[in-house]
């Protein structure tokens, strides 16, 4: 089923299993969200559990905090990545710190769903990659599924988590189809996943970039280079086990991301891999990123965002060491 339907099914199951789970956001009720992820949920669970909120992101997250204090499990939708910033103070100064400030006496089981990333040709503020603002904030867990099956399970796991989870949905993948196994959970929420086996170079990424990495790996294969691909899945914490295992085998790594590269997730993962697997490396870990410029007008996003060619260029560079 398509990624967005998988999320919808995961949300429905979470609401069915726990009647303290409630949804809130702009246009999520009658319309079912601008990406239709919450379609049908209000009809099924009622206006008390699926709230079309006033148009105020700080209000959405701030009141979700209070609802969590009242024992609910709010799942907030931020309509587009660029509109999470009005809620930034509530997320980083409050939501992330409340458990710590209360010395553990209060937990914050709040999920914030954010469609993120490019490749939908939209206007300004509708395609950003804000992940490191959140990974940089202690107290938040940050995850991003890349397949329908992960979407289905990870949203349910995020909702059962007692910590706040920033749930990043790669919006260019909403229409992508894949198998969903509703009988068995594949991996824990914070595990990274080996997606493709290979021997020469380890390619790591998250969200929509995983598909591009697989594309690059297929192209590399045809040129005789064998790439291993790892999907981070969890951006905070990062599950380094599979990455380090892989790098110890291949000796080379490239991290690809849509976000600007400076002080990015790729920077963090690269630094850690260099610390922990230094002697296994045959070449420096390379990063392929969006440029350190504001996300450009839609006509330029094809140049701005790393594609398979840019990843292969980095693969060539790492092999040249």
């Amino acid at each position: 089923m398509p990624f967005s339907r998988a999320l919808n099914a995961g949300l429905r199951r979470a609401m069915t299993e726990n009647d303290r789970v409630i949804m809130m956001g702009e246009d999520i009720g009658r319309l079912g969200g601008v990406f239709r992820v919450t379609e049908g949920l209000q009809a099924e669970f009622g206006e008390q559990r699926v709230l079309d909120t006033p148009l105020a992101e700080s209000g959405i997250v701030g009141t979700a905090i209070g609802l969590a204090m009242a024992g609910f499990r709010p799942v907030c939708e931020i309509q587009f990545d660029g509109f999470v910033f009005p809620a930034f103070d509530q997320i980083t100064s409050q939501l992330a710190k409340i458990t710590n400030r209360h010395e553990g006496a209060l937990s914050m089981p709040v999920v914030i769903r954010i469609p993120y990333g490019g490749h939908i040709g939209a206007v300004e503020h509708h395609q950003e990659s804000p992940e490191v603002y959140f990974t940089h904030t202690p107290g938040l867990r940050v995850v991003s599924p890349s397949t329908p099956n992960d979407a289905y399970w990870m949203i349910q796991d995020a909702i059962t988590s007692t910590d706040p989870v920033i749930f990043l949905e790669p919006k260019s993948r909403y229409w992508q189809k894949g198998e969903v196994d509703a009988a068995a959970r594949a991996l824990p929420l914070h595990a990274s996943r080996l997606v493709r086996r290979g021997t020469d170079v380890t390619l790591v990424g998250h969200g929509a970039m995983v598909a591009t990495l697989l594309q690059a790996a297929a192209l590399a294969e045809s040129e005789g280079t064998s790439c291993e691909v790892i999907d981070l899945r969890s951006l905070s914490p990062v599950d380094y086990g599979p990455i380090l295992d892989s790098v110890r085998r291949t000796g080379r790594m490239v991290y690809a991301q849509e976000a600007p590269g400076f002080t990015s997730l790729g920077s963090e993962v690269a630094a850690t891999v260099m610390e922990k697997a230094f002697y296994a490396l045959e070449a420096p870990v390379l990063r392929v990123s969006g440029f350190d410029a504001p996300f450009p007008p839609a006509k330029l996003e094809g140049t701005f965002l790393p594609d398979a060619d840019r990843i292969l260029e980095a693969v060539d560079r790492t092999l040249a060491y």
Partner: protein, 380 residues
């Protein structure tokens, strides 16, 4: 079904033209009638012309989006009177802060409509320079809802600090008008803007277009009391108007701006109108509203109303035909020039990130140039 909470039947409502185009002023409109009586035939016909032309342009842009020429289009269909009246009320020296639907506001101030198209085509995030005199101090579109209300308030504070307002001369004193929607009125920024505006008595008009819907969410979710009544809480005098009556929009905005520039502090206007089309070309309004509702508003169409009024005053068939021809020409011109819009150089994305040299930008610009050149050199 939801209950709209707009000021449609508020005793303070200012309306001059009834839906059928007859002159039927509400009691609250009395103080404005003199100003309206002073309008010349040419000015009145100009209002109609503005509204008619933008509707044709708006329809053309919607079609262009359907043909894949634009990424998105936010139609202004139905909101012409609120926009035209308020924009025509501003003086040349005034500063305007639109949201993203105020196409005719921009056009009246001199912005080339194709500059708006360039934004929605994905060629630029801006499209025009507010400081260029040909753009009439019109700021660029804002897509983060409500944030422009704070910028407008800050600019208005600056006008006061610089003595550019409140000198007593309405011919030279400057004021600010900021546009936002009923949905945006829930944003914290809008509330903070009103607090600052009232505290510093800014020469500013908050122009709220209540078009009843924030995408699929009715105005009742944003406010249980009419939005204009919030003004009192901030100490900002606020007036509800029939936003589909261009005369009410013109007169009330004119007075509010003049009062603001005279040093009386900020003013707010809630224009009761209706977004007759979809929220944007990505939206499907049949999911959340009824045909009955849409029809009831179609009967209050701002353009039909003004047409009936002008006919009653004896406007000629030749005038209406000429406006129609002009509208068709503007729409056709937009179509032709949109098709002729070329691409943009890829390294444009590194321009204006900083005003001073920045090593990371320089490095990446150079890298991209080399990378792109490496493809060109490849034998085909």
């Amino acid at each position: 079904m939801h209950q709209n909470t707009g000021p449609d039947d508020a005793p303070e409502l200012v309306r001059v033209l009834a839906a059928d185009g007859s002159v039927a002023p509400t009691p609250a409109a009395e103080p404005y009638l003199e100003l309206i009586d002073a309008l010349t035939d040419a000015e009145l016909e100009g209002f109609y012309r503005d509204m008619f032309v933008v509707r044709a342009f708006d329809q053309q842009a919607t079609n262009l989006q359907r043909q894949g020429q634009l990424a998105l289009w936010p139609p202004s269909f139905g909101q012409e009177a609120a926009q035209v009246g308020s924009a025509r009320a501003a003086r040349p020296q005034d500063h305007l802060f639109p949201s993203y639907r105020e196409h005719v506001v921009c056009m009246i101030r001199g912005v080339d409509p194709v500059d708006i198209i360039r934004v929605m085509r994905g060629l630029t995030h801006g499209g025009w320079n507010p400081a260029d005199p040909k753009n009439g101090n019109t700021h660029i579109y804002t897509l983060v809802l409500g944030s422009q209300t704070l910028h407008a308030t800050g600019l208005a504070m600056g006008l006061t600090l610089d003595g550019k307002s409140g000198s007593g001369d309405p011919q030279t004193d400057e004021a600010v008008i900021v546009y936002y929607g009923d949905g945006a009125s829930s944003q914290g920024d809008v509330h903070e803007a009103m607090v600052f505006a009232a505290s510093y008595r800014t020469p500013e008009v908050f122009f709220l277009q209540n078009n009843q819907w924030a995408i699929s969410v009715p105005v009742a979710t944003q406010s249980r009391s009419p939005l204009y009544r919030r003004g009192a809480g901030y100490g900002i005098p606020s007036i509800p108007i029939d936003g589909n009556d261009v005369l009410a929009s013109y007169a009330v905005t004119r007075v509010a701006l003049d009062e603001a520039r005279a040093g009386a502090g900020p003013r707010a206007i809630e224009a009761m109108t209706y977004r007759m089309g979809a929220h944007t070309t990505s939206d499907d309004p049949t999911k959340y509203r009824t045909a009955d509702e849409e029809e009831s508003w179609a009967r209050r169409d701002p353009i039909a109303r003004m047409r009936a009024y002008l006919r009653g005053r004896g406007a000629s068939d030749a005038f209406f035909a000429e406006v129609e021809a002009q509208a068709a020409a503007v729409a056709e011109d937009a179509r032709v020039r949109t098709a002729a819009l070329g691409g943009i150089p890829t390294d444009l994305m590194f321009d204006h990130v900083y005003t001073e040299p920045h090593p990371l930008i320089d490095e990446q610009r150079a890298w991209l140039a080399g990378y792109e050149a490496s493809f060109e050199e490849e034998p085909s």
